[in-house]
């Protein structure tokens, strides 16, 4: 397959970047929201999934709106009107040889798609609107909130600071948060982002809704974090014959949350046929990794370390040729083509966990799984039960894994049998033991932190930290400057090899000093 080509359409004196994917009989133009970057979309799993689903039944035409991504920038002091920007859609369609297309307008792209449908009815085959609106201030942000948003965008643009405003449930997904920060940087400069936000704020197309004649489908997530669902209810009411479908979820971007659910609706609307639920089952090894004995860590330390471990998990799974398929509560689930890879990855994860200061417990099983969607089904459930059964540092696998990994050089020892809820016969288990030559001769002993290592003053500070006092409060109590207290706290963390204040507080509670906690 040749790489997806990016081309440039001319719209007035502007160049608009676009891509064409798929060979379906109908043309579908995707009008993206606030910001976009044609190249970067293909680096996110959800975005790629959406584009693949849509291009499976259409010739999908993608573009970056002027001022965003790979398209020409706009003059921040002379913002183009919605009409001008809407004409970019026409320019891209002309360049791609599309005489008539269905339009999918997502978020900020929805008003643009609606204006296009009203202006060029003969070129609009159908209109699908997702998370859209007709009036910015009424359904997205009041002028005051917009000012605050722009101020935040101008000071923290490129750090991913806007993520909570769009996809709150992905904030803890470090991998996605990093992608989002790049998405900000590569889609618009800080000045452009502020200009775009102002440009969108002018949107009010309530008066054109009744002239839209294309068949219209309106989709909105019930708890959308960015755009009030009332916005779509209004659209469905005013656009003649429009159909509204409200779906579950609160993340706003169309490529987050239940992407397949959205794609199904759009496919059925445009082709008149229900998406064929292609059951795509493959034989694969599933590895379920959990952090053992989480109760021993304080909340703060737990969240810090588990986050680090999760990042390492993604990295190591990728490095071993696997795929991170999901987080199921505290269980990390990955999929591998071969059982040996899964076990090698499990061994690497066990090491990594120790370095981070947590203990892992893992289970691996092999069986048929569905390629699409979250890991459900028997194989996943068995692997999860094995992980739950595994002790500190253990890698427990079904006997089948060991049989299939014969000749791989991995060592397994018998681990008895376990009765699994859904299996009639108890399942034979093995322990995966590390390859001997990989075992370090002796492990570095973790340094035991002793309260005695602290000076008297530091002990005082740490017990006040344990009381939950701020640096300022401690400074006042000990008659020190806040700066000095800060230095004491830093020294304490360094001496005790602790990651945070909360950890120091927990330490103090476990080691009461002469004055008691």
């Amino acid at each position: 397959m040749r790489p997806i080509e990016t081309r440039y359409a001319r719209s007035g004196d502007m160049r608009i970047a676009y891509q064409v994917v798929g060979q379906g009989s109908l043309d579908l133009v995707f009008v993206p929201g606030f910001i976009s970057n044609l190249d970067l979309h293909w680096e996110d799993e959800g975005y790629t999934r959406l584009l693949k689903r849509l291009s499976a039944f259409s010739r999908l035409i993608l573009f970056d709106k002027r001022g965003t991504g790979l398209s020409d920038r706009v003059d921040a002091h002379n913002l183009p009107s919605l009409e001008t920007r809407m004409d970019d859609v026409r320019a891209v369609m002309d360049a791609a040889g599309s005489g008539r297309a269905a339009l999918l307008g997502s978020s900020e792209g929805a008003p643009m798609a609606m204006l296009f449908a009203a202006t060029y009815p003969e070129r609009t085959r159908a209109l699908a609107l997702y998370g859209g609106y007709a009036h910015f201030h009424k359904w997205v942000m009041s002028p005051e909130r917009l000012d605050a948003f722009i101020e935040m965008a101008e000071t923290a643009w490129g750090t991913g600071a806007t993520l909570p405003h769009f996809a709150p449930s992905r904030v803890d997904d470090a991998h996605f948060a990093q992608w989002w920060a790049r998405f900000e940087r590569l889609s618009a400069s800080p000045t452009a982002a502020a200009a775009l936000a102002r440009m969108n704020a002018d949107v009010d197309i309530r008066h054109i809704l009744n002239v839209i004649s294309a068949p219209t489908l309106v989709i909105h997530r019930r708890n959308d974090a960015r755009v009030d669902p009332d916005a779509s209810r209004f659209l469905a009411q005013k656009i003649p014959g429009a159909r509204l479908v409200e779906i579950d979820g609160r993340d706003h971007p169309i490529w987050t949350g239940d992407v397949d659910g959205v794609a199904n609706l759009i496919e059925e609307f445009l082709t008149g046929e229900r998406a064929v639920g292609e059951v795509d089952r493959v034989l694969a090894a599933l590895l379920v990794t959990r952090i053992y004995d989480t109760a021993r860590l304080g909340d703060r330390m737990w969240s810090e370390r588990s986050q680090r471990f999760q990042e390492t998990w993604r990295l190591l799974v990728g490095r071993h040729g696997g795929r991170s398929v999901g987080l199921h509560g505290e269980l990390m689930i990955s999929r591998f083509d071969g059982p040996a890879r899964a076990i090698r990855c499990a061994a690497a994860l066990r090491e990594a966990a120790q370095e981070i200061g947590v203990a892992s417990a893992q289970g691996a099983h092999v069986g048929e799984i569905e390629m699409r969607g979250p890991p459900v089904g028997m194989t996943a459930r068995v692997a999860m039960q094995l992980a739950a059964h595994a002790g500190r540092g253990d890698i427990i696998a079904s006997r089948l894994i060991a049989d299939l990994a014969a000749g791989s050089g991995l060592h397994f020892t018998d681990a008895g049998r376990i009765s699994v809820d859904e299996l009639e016969e108890p399942l034979a288990l093995v322990h995966a033991t590390s390859e001997q030559h990989l075992e370090p001769a002796c492990r570095p002993k973790p340094r035991v932190a002793e309260p005695a290592a602290l000076t008297a003053r530091e002990s005082e500070v740490v017990s006040l930290v344990a009381d939950g006092k701020s640096n300022a409060a401690i400074a006042a109590e000990l008659r020190l400057s806040e700066h000095t207290v800060k230095r004491h706290v830093a020294n304490i963390l360094l001496k005790l090899d602790l990651p945070s204040r909360a950890a120091a507080a927990a330490f103090s509670a476990r080691h009461p000093g002469p004055h008691g906690p």
């Binding site: 064409v20 060979q23 009989s25 043309d27 010739r59 791609a96 599309s98 085959r125």
Partner: protein
Amino acid sequence: MLTKTQTVDGAAIKKAIETRDGKMLSSFYADDALVRVIDRNNPPSKPREIRGRAAITTFWDDICSRAMTHKVDTTIADGDSLAFTQACAYPDGTKVFCAAMLELKDGRIASQTVVQAWDE
């Protein structure tokens, strides 16, 4: 009074396809015609099926709305069977090639199977 309609033959199909005349093309099909499309996205065991004139009209309207060139090269007729090949190109140069096999009934297309491949 019977409306005089265009005879469906190789020449008529060639003309309609090459001039991107979707309306004319759709009028060649019987009301309950079936078009089956086989390509990379629609494998032989699960071809895309377009049933009935209304759906076929939409299909041809979509195809003909594209600013692409179509050239019907070889047409072979044998009784009620008709076959042709078609070379198409998008403005950006991407090429599509199709081979089609048609069965006629009472002078209208009753069924058609299209096999197509494209640059990618």
